[in-house]
């Protein structure tokens, strides 16, 4: 039975939700707004919400000074590549943990997740040494690998939760029907897990796109993605808020658009299994 909710309470919760939403969105809004101001107006006190001179100059300067497309392309390759590679590794891993669990499966999952609690800087030195040794510094392949490994625990964990929802009977039926392991995963498990896999992919693209620690530390010019592009505008020769904002807006625009169009899928994926 639906619980009766008074109109006043409905209005209050709606207002609260909007307030929280706006609070979270405000920095993004402010960044976008600032990107259309002149440098002087950008640091004006009190801050200007309106009445400033609308200009596209910052975008033109940013595009002129640095090649946005090259950074974008690096971001696409690193985020897409690490996610794809991660899925390829994680599907069989999650399959075995979900359907052929051992006594240690839970421990392994927890241990994997616990690696996310380790501060990244703690392993910066060894990873840098490995990168130097294998000539991976400032390469897209090196960065793709590192980011894939960083996000792998989350991919495996998410897929594991989705796979657990799939009745084992159906996989056994496939086995009885003559499907080998490869066919079972390819024709039965994967199509059934598509919603889960899709939201895992989306979330990981977002995580990889926003990853800044490793991209900033392990790249210079060749493999630098959009995070490095933004960082290059918080330069020591003085802060240029308007240009920094323009660069940030350009960097977050693709992922913002992707997130906007896939929000239904994302929410569905993240709450999958919570409500039956």
């Amino acid at each position: 039975m639906a619980r009766a909710v008074s109109t006043r309470r409905k209005i209050a919760t709606t207002a609260l939700a909007w307030a929280i939403g706006l609070l979270i969105f405000f920095p993004i809004f402010w960044t976008i707004l600032t990107s259309f101001k002149t440098e002087a107006q950008a640091i004006n006190n009190p801050p200007l919400f309106w009445g400033f001179d609308f200009t596209l100059e910052n975008y033109a300067i940013v595009q002129e000074r640095s090649d946005y497309m090259r950074f974008l392309w690096n971001s696409v390759i690193i985020a897409g590549g690490s996610t794809l590679l991660g899925i390829l590794v994680a599907v069989p891993a999650a399959w075995s943990m979900a359907f052929v669990p051992s006594r240690r499966t839970k421990d392994i999952l927890l241990w994997m997740l616990s690696t996310k609690m380790l501060p990244a800087v703690g392993v910066l030195y060894p990873i840098s040494l490995i990168f130097v040794e294998f000539n991976l510094l400032d390469t897209r392949i090196g960065l793709t690998l590192v980011i894939m490994l960083i996000n792998l625990p989350i991919i495996v964990w998410m897929l594991y939760t989705y796979f657990r929802e799939i009745p084992v009977d159906i996989l056994e039926a496939a086995r009885m029907d003559g499907a080998g392991l490869r066919q079972e995963i390819l024709y039965v498990l994967t199509p059934m897990a598509i919603p889960g896999i899709a939201s895992t992919v989306l979330l990981n693209i977002i995580l990889a796109w926003n990853e800044a620690f490793w991209t900033l530390n392990l790249t210079a010019a060749n493999a630098a993605p959009l995070t490095a592009f933004i960082a290059s505008y918080s330069s020591p020769e003085g802060l240029f808020y308007a240009k920094l904002s323009a660069a940030s807006t350009m960097a977050i625009a693709p992922i913002l658009i992707l997130g906007w169009f896939s929000q239904k899928q994302l929410v569905r994926g993240l709450t999958f299994g919570a409500v039956k």
């Binding site: 009745p167 009977d169 159906i170 056994e172 039926a173 496939a174 086995r175 009885m176 029907d177 003559g178 499907a179 080998g180 066919q183 024709y187 039965v188 199509p191 059934m192 598509i194």
Partner: protein
């Protein structure tokens, strides 16, 4: 061909032995039912035959060939699950065709077989639907269709009717029996419902705690249960079991008498008691009579026209020719 032999097959999960070593032969073309209370190991036994579980020791032979370590896909058996286990993302047509596709059969032959199976199972109109758009009975028929097309050496059914409502269950029971008569293929059927076992089986295997209690035709088991467990499990309503002095008078620890082998009289008989609850089925009536000296009410089956009411005093007399006697081990006394 589908002759299945289990030779000292056992199964343990860790320290727990769920099936102690057992021997069993299922002849080609037989309809064998594994029956027993839940947790008796009947589903595990079926899964061992299917290859979905590994045996701990012993050997499983299919048509004389050792199949103990053959993967399920290669055993040539088809299984129908309690949950139907259809592929939700495929149409009925693709579900039924799936095993043929896995076998690499050419699409034309595949299509022909799917159509033939759909025809037999009245699924022709539903071939392009998804499982989610079908009723429980239709889903179960798709699951059976998926099993038929493969022309397996034997069919394995794991409580296939448990999720259906009572009326549908009776209908599907007949359909499966009809299918068995038509195909003549070995069928192994697991159920906890002794009515299904009695009505469908050529041979019933009664299991308790992983042990085979008795193997035989339904009527053999009904007429000559080997021990108290089988006596109490097979037959509905259950056999009346009486201990104590009354049993001792017949030279047994426990005596058993089926409800239809007790005669009722209003003035004379062996046991005196009062009529309790009565169940009128139309053709038959079951009276539950509380008798002096017998702790459990005695169930009596009489014709539908017998007119007795709650509280009436009656005399019951068990038919001596149909009296089952059991010793203190619970075993039948010949």
């Amino acid at each position: 061909m589908g002759r299945i032999t289990l030779d000292k097959v056992s199964k343990s999960f860790g320290e727990v032995e769920v099936i102690p070593p057992l021997d069993l032969t299922i002849e080609d073309g037989e309809f064998v039912v594994f029956v027993g209370p839940s947790g008796c190991g009947k589903s595990t036994l079926l899964r061992l035959i299917a290859g979905l579980e590994d045996v701990t020791s012993g050997e499983i032979r299919i048509d004389g060939q050792d199949a103990t370590s053959v993967p399920p896909a290669k055993r040539g058996l088809a299984m129908v699950f309690q949950s139907y286990a259809l592929y939700p993302h495929m149409s009925v047509r693709k579900n039924i065709a799936f095993p043929l596709r896995m076998a690499g059969m050419d699409p034309a032959e595949r299509d022909r077989r799917v159509k033939a199976a759909a025809d037999v199972l009245n699924l022709t109109d539903y071939l392009d639907r998804r499982p989610g758009q079908l009723s429980g009975g239709q889903r179960q028929r798709v699951a059976i269709g998926r099993a038929i097309v493969r022309e397996p050496a034997a069919f394995l059914f794991d409580e296939p009717l448990s999720n259906l409502d009572a009326a549908l269950r009776v209908g599907m029971r007949l359909e499966i029996s009809e299918l068995h008569n038509r195909l003549g293929t070995t069928m192994i059927y697991v159920t906890h419902d002794q009515v299904e076992a009695m009505t469908m089986a050529d041979k019933i295997v009664v299991l308790r705690a992983g042990n085979i209690e008795q193997v035989g035709s339904p009527l053999e088991l009904y007429r000559n249960p080997r021990n108290l467990f089988v006596a109490g499990f097979i037959g509905s309503p259950k056999m009346n079991l009486v201990n104590g002095d009354i049993a001792a008078r017949h030279g047994a620890e426990t005596i058993g008498i089926r409800p239809e082998h007790i005669s009722v009289s209003s003035d004379d008989g062996e046991w005196h008691g009062k009529v309790g609850v009565s169940e009128h089925l139309g053709s038959d009536t079951f009276f539950h009579v509380t008798c002096n000296g017998i702790p459990e009410p005695v169930t009596v089956r009489v014709g539908g026209e017998v007119d007795l009411h709650y509280g009436d005093e009656v005399w019951l007399t068990p038919d001596p020719d149909h009296l089952h006697r059991f010793d203190n081990q619970g075993l039948r006394i010949a």
